[in-house]
Amino acid sequence: MNKLSLAYELHKRKLLTLLLTGVFIWSLFAVQWSTGLIHGSGLATAGQIFGAMFQPDVSADILIIALESSWITLAYAAAGMSLAIILAFFLGIWASGVLASGAKSRYFMKGTFRSVLGFMRAIHELVWAWLFVASFGLSPYAAVFALAIPYGGILGRIFADMLNDVPKEPIQALESAGASRIQCLIYGYLPNVRANILSYVMYRFECAVRSSAIMSFVGLGGLGYQIQLSLDDLQYNEVWTFLFFLIGVVVLIDLWSSQLRRRLAL
């Protein structure tokens, strides 16, 4: 009996891996590959769309629209991220339990705030966007909140996990030097996770730009909205102009983030 449970403890991980692999393979069979996945006439359209990639529309008025809607997309993403960072900062610290003094209150805090974060990110930003547009119409706030809530949930969770992974020794040393919980936070935990959290925030910012573009399909202005309009008119050349702008914004953010990281690593 004892031996059996020991064997189970040892191989628990492998069993789980096996199970998940099984589920994955089974799911491959569940898709009906032969019918309906690709339909014949679509091939010609696909040809047109990808052909247009090499001839994006560069007329002045399209470029101006692209520039404007890039700006809107970027602005929504930046505002959403700013709010997300503030949410994640506080919720993440509470969810990590590093401020709790006793084991009981730590358990309680972790449980509560991790569930809050879980709820925030369980719902996709598009769904939040629909909900907000439905409740207060096509206002920029809808886009900003729709981004901030799930992104706050994701960032907060990662932040909390990073705080929990901080090595114990320096924290213990601070405690024995007489530091309170909050002093341990600002002198030990936060400096420790700063570089990692920053690079993760930058990565999430990139994702936020893409999300913000997609979200505008709902009818909020931005690159996604323009892409949709052009698609409806079958103007694939315009579609590609907007897509290249989207790629450009993401690349710019990537450059900025690697520069920031380099400066922090010093």
Binding site: P170, A173, L174, S176, A177, G178, S180, Y187, L266
Partner: protein, 251 residues
């Protein structure tokens, strides 16, 4: 009279699950003494120091600090004025500049606002710089701590202890991860500073030579019990041999 007992360890025992780490250990330490804890791996040195640092609690027995039971010092800030600890080199926050690691010794005196302000504009900077000078690192004040060598990091930890200024310094293998030259250097500094500050020093060490050279009194632990407790120059090679002997060889 001039040397009252600052630490009185009374019949303390500690076990982890079924493993006995310390059993009915008693001894006392006078103010200003320099005590080296020696003994083979697993003897209970770290456990003892952790009990003294009130990181863990003994299962039985009591520790009296300055005549009062340890439980009287529930306030961490008050306790930090009594006892400070230095371990192996992983004690510092590597991402912070040296000066903030040193000033962390002031956190017991500082409130929240002052400690956060200090991260922007270092407060009581002179104290930090003075203690960095005393440990021989006057030119590393604003360096990122992680960029320092192991020996330099231990000196930063010493500078922090200087700023914290406790009455008793506990050191758990403070030189374990350093090469012999650095180790000797850090030990010399640790004992010298403790003497200058009139501090009581209790350090666990793996090197008998260093223990004899830099400490007044050697307390040897083996399997959680006191093996001997002698003045440094009274310890014989026979006793040391027996202390570190493996069980199999005794038979």
């Amino acid at each position: 009279m001039s040397n009252p007992e600052i630490l009185d360890i009374n019949q303390i025992s500690k076990h982890f699950e079924r493993k006995v780490a310390l059993s009915s250990l008693s001894f006392s330490v006078k103010k200003g003494e320099r005590v080296a804890l020696i003994g083979p791996s697993g003897a209970g040195k770290t456990t003892l120091l952790n009990i003294l640092a009130s990181v863990i609690e003994p299962d039985e027995g009591q520790v009296f600090l300055d005549g009062e039971p340890m439980q009287e010092y529930a306030d961490r800030k008050k306790f930090a004025k009594k006892i400070g600890i230095i371990r192996q080199q992983f004690d510092l926050v590597g991402q912070l500049p040296v000066i903030h690691n040193v000033l962390a010794g002031k956190l017991a005196d500082w409130g929240f606002a002052k400690s956060i302000l200090s991260l922007l504009i270092p407060q009581e900077k002179e104290a930090a710089i003075r203690s960095l000078e005393r440990v021989g690192l006057p030119d590393k004040v604003y360096e990122r701590t992680a960029n320092l060598s192991g020996g330099e990091q231990q000196r930063v930890a010493l500078a922090r202890l200087l700023v914290q200024s406790p009455q008793i310094v506990l050191a758990d293998e403070p030189v374990a991860s350093l090469d012999p030259a650095r180790a000797e250097d850090v030990l010399f500094m640790l004992t010298k500073l403790a003497a200058e500050e009139n501090q009581t020093l209790i350090a666990s060490l793996h090197s008998i030579d260093y223990a004899r050279k830099y400490f007044d009194r050697l307390i040897a632990l083996k399997d959680g019990v006191l093996f001997f407790d002698l003045e440094a120059d009274k310890v014989t090679d026979e006793q040391l041999k027996e202390l570190y002997q493996l069980k199999e060889l005794v038979r």
